[in-house]
């Protein structure tokens, strides 16, 4: 699995490429949590090139989201389609995470959200 990071002002866009399973979920979670706790205002995770996500991947996302919540960094997902979308839906995680269609919408959403106190 590959992770490509792009910064757009205070928002970090993460492109994930490859399967998110028990072998790749650990490193993904560490990277996401590290960013969530850093000085970014928002984290966009693009699933366009992710063909598969398992329970380990969801656990990684949930932990990163929790860390983000604690440090005022919001998590938004995009590119959630096909089989990955189906997994989000059967676990009802599409109600837990904020999921938008495109990267552009995610960045606009993050810009529109009010920042919690103490956040950059």
């Amino acid at each position: 699995m590959e992770i490509i990071e792009t910064r757009i002002h205070a928002v970090v866009v993460i492109d994930v490429k490859g399967r998110i399973d028990s072998t790749s979920a650990g490193p993904l979670q560490e990277r996401l949590s590290g960013l969530a706790r850093s000085d970014c205002a928002g984290l966009v995770i693009d699933f366009k090139q992710v063909p598969y996500i398992s329970s380990a991947g969801f656990k990684a996302l949930l932990i990163a989201a929790k860390h983000g919540e604690e440090s005022g960094c919001a998590l938004v997902l995009c590119g959630v389609v096909g089989e990955v979308r189906r997994m989000f839906e059967i676990a009802a995680f599409d109600q837990v995470f904020s999921i938008l269609a495109t990267r552009k919408e995610c960045i606009e959403q993050l810009a529109a959200w009010p920042k919690p106190e103490g956040a950059p």
């Binding site: 028990s22 598969y52 329970s55 929790k66 089989e83």
Partner: protein, 575 residues
């Protein structure tokens, strides 16, 4: 005598206004009946072509069309019957069909109308006989093969249209005729793409009306041709001196393929009716399908008996029922009654009888597009491996070669000619025989031993995908099986890993995909509810229970057994 149990527990879906057993207000029934009749009416083009090719008088064509409309009414009533051995009981009207067009045109050119009618009776009786062995048919006619038949029908219809217009035995079309054809096609297409509501639904009918008007104003339809229409009475029982029935063994192959195609289409249409009427539909009710195909076959046989061409269940009508939400059987009786009345209105059938070839060709070309593409969609609805690709590819290519290259059939004579000379027959036959041969070696069940040390989920994905293609399974069901297996193995191997060799079995038939994994260890838990977010985030057991929950939701049925030190997990997926 065997009882014929009816659908006992059907739950009406929320989007259906009137279910099959309900009675809508008369105005709703009438309006819906008219809509269906309008959609079906354009298929009167098929018998018009056959009768005009026969070269009989306009009065004879008028009478035959009148008989044809009455036959549609009778066949629609038969299909709607819900007590007894005949009829699916659904609002599933009858229509003339492209399926019988090429065979009927061949028959009329070979032996006149008596041969058409005789062979149509044969096809109808054959289809009725097939109704009893339908469940065996499915094994020999995989879904993509029925898609190929539909595609070849679309192609042959388009060729009939072009040949009718360009006139292989009559004069080439005039400039006015080109304009009429263009106008008919243009109006139909514009209404279909940009029209709304009723205009869109009846686009083909409106296109034909415009074609008639254009033909009149451009002189394609002469005053002389319109004379008989003015002379025809408003109401009369259609009467025609029957030319009898004849039979030609050489046409058995082409009419048999048509009967098979009609049976398959009837199965598909009745399936749609079942799904529309039952919110809890899981799989086809084969008894009502059998009764429906029997009604369809009898309708065709009756058509041949009284002087008509083959009929079939109307698939666009099934779609219209979904769209309008009115599935009541009463509407079927209204449609049948409308056709009986139309059949006894010689003025209307006389108008149909003089349909210019430019209008016919345009209407047929339009229909051919949808038929051909529908066939392509059916073919691509299933995963295709090398075997299936060759079956479809060879069938299509040989069918096309017959049409495109006269040298292919130049030297063929006798009983072989109608088989090899017809693209529909030859293409289907080639595909059917190749399918029988290539089935050798395809196993319904496969096993795979997985060594945890070398476990690669991508290999499992490839293995199951290849197997799915060999089975011709639906890709969405195969995807679910792949998720089930890979998520389960991943969870079983975490956190300590290495429970010994994992033994995977997968089995498939047209309705079921079953997967079984056996491993040394404790069976995974499959909870009914998702663990809480904090449970998932903070504990290993929470994450495992999430995996079990995902697996339970992914399959229709999950079963976990413990046999000593071995756990056996089974997933069932409805196909």
């Amino acid at each position: 005598m065997r009882a014929f149990p009816r659908r006992a527990f059907m739950r009406k879906p929320a989007n259906l206004l009137f279910g099959v057993d309900e009675s809508p207000p008369l105005s709703v029934a009438l309006l819906n009946g008219l809509q269906h009749a309008g959609v079906i009416a354009i298929n009167l083009v098929y018998p018009v072509i056959v009768f005009r090719t026969a070269g009989v008088t306009a009065e004879a064509v008028t009478a035959l069309l009148g008989i044809g409309c009455c036959i549609l009414g009778i066949a629609t009533f038969l299909q709607a019957l819900h007590k007894g051995p005949v009829g699916s009981g659904y609002m599933c009207p009858a229509t003339f069909t492209a399926t019988y067009l090429a065979p009927s045109v061949l028959a009329v050119k070979t032996g006149g109308l008596s041969l058409v009618f005789g062979m149509t009776i044969f096809a109808g009786l054959l289809e009725a006989a097939l109704a009893r062995v339908l469940y065996k048919l499915r094994a020999f006619v995989p879904v993509e093969l029925s898609g190929l038949v539909i595609l070849l029908i679309g192609i042959t219809v388009s060729l009939v249209a072009i040949r009718t217009f360009l006139g292989t035995t009559t004069s080439a079309p005039s400039a006015a005729e080109w304009m009429v054809a263009g106008a008919t096609l243009a109006v139909t297409v514009v209404l279909n793409i940009w029209g709304k509501g009723l205009a869109r639904m009846l686009c083909a009918l409106l296109g034909i009306v415009c074609g008639y008007l254009a033909a009149f104003f451009l002189g394609v339809l002469s005053e002389g041709e319109l004379g008989p229409i003015a002379a025809a009475s408003w109401i009369a029982i259609p009467h025609w001196e029957h030319s009898g029935w004849s039979f030609d063994a050489g046409l058995v192959a082409v009419f048999s393929i048509a009967a098979l195609a009609a049976a398959l289409k009837a199965i598909g249409t009745i399936n749609v009716c079942q799904r529309t009427n039952d919110a809890e539909w899981v799989r086809p009710d084969s008894r009502s399908i059998g009764r429906g195909v029997l009604a369809d076959g009898l309708g065709t046989a009756i058509a041949g008996l009284f002087g008509g061409v083959g009929i079939n269940t109307s698939t666009p009508s099934a779609g219209l029922v979904s769209a309008t939400g009115v599935a009541s059987r009463i509407v079927a009786f209204v449609v049948g009654a409308i056709f009986l009345v139309v059949g006894m209105t010689p003025k209307f059938t006389a108008l149909l009888a003089v349909m210019p070839r430019s209008v016919m060709a345009a209407a047929l070309l339009f229909a051919a597009c949808f038929i051909a593409v529908s066939g392509l969609q059916v073919i691509s609805s299933r995963m295709l491996d090398v075997r299936r690709t060759l079956v479809i590819g060879m069938g299509l290519i040989t069918g096309l070669a017959v049409e495109a290259i006269p040298a292919v059939t130049a030297g063929i004579t006798g009983w072989l000619k109608p088989i090899i000379g017809s693209s529909l027959v030859f293409g289907t036959l080639v595909a059917f025989l190749l399918n029988l041969v290539f089935r050798l070696g395809v196993r319904r069940a496969v096993v795979l031993d997985i060594d945890p040390a070398g476990y690669d989920p991508v290999k499992i994905d490839e293995f199951l995908r290849a197997q799915g293609a060999a089975w011709g399974a639906r890709p969405d069901v195969v995807n679910r099986a792949i998720f089930g297996v890979t998520q389960l193995i991943e969870t079983v191997l975490e956190p300590e890993g290495s429970p010994g060799t994992l033994h995977l079995e997968a089995g498939f038939d047209e309705y079921n995909l079953d997967v079984r994994l056996r491993y040394e260890g404790v069976a995974l838990e499959f909870p009914q509810t998702r663990p809480s977010l904090s449970e998932i985030q903070e504990s290993e057991s929470g994450a495992r229970r999430l995996a079990g929950y995902l697996l339970r939701r992914n399959a229709e049925r999950v079963r976990a057994d413990q046999a000593g030190s071995y756990a056996i997990i089974q997933f069932h997926f409805d196909h």
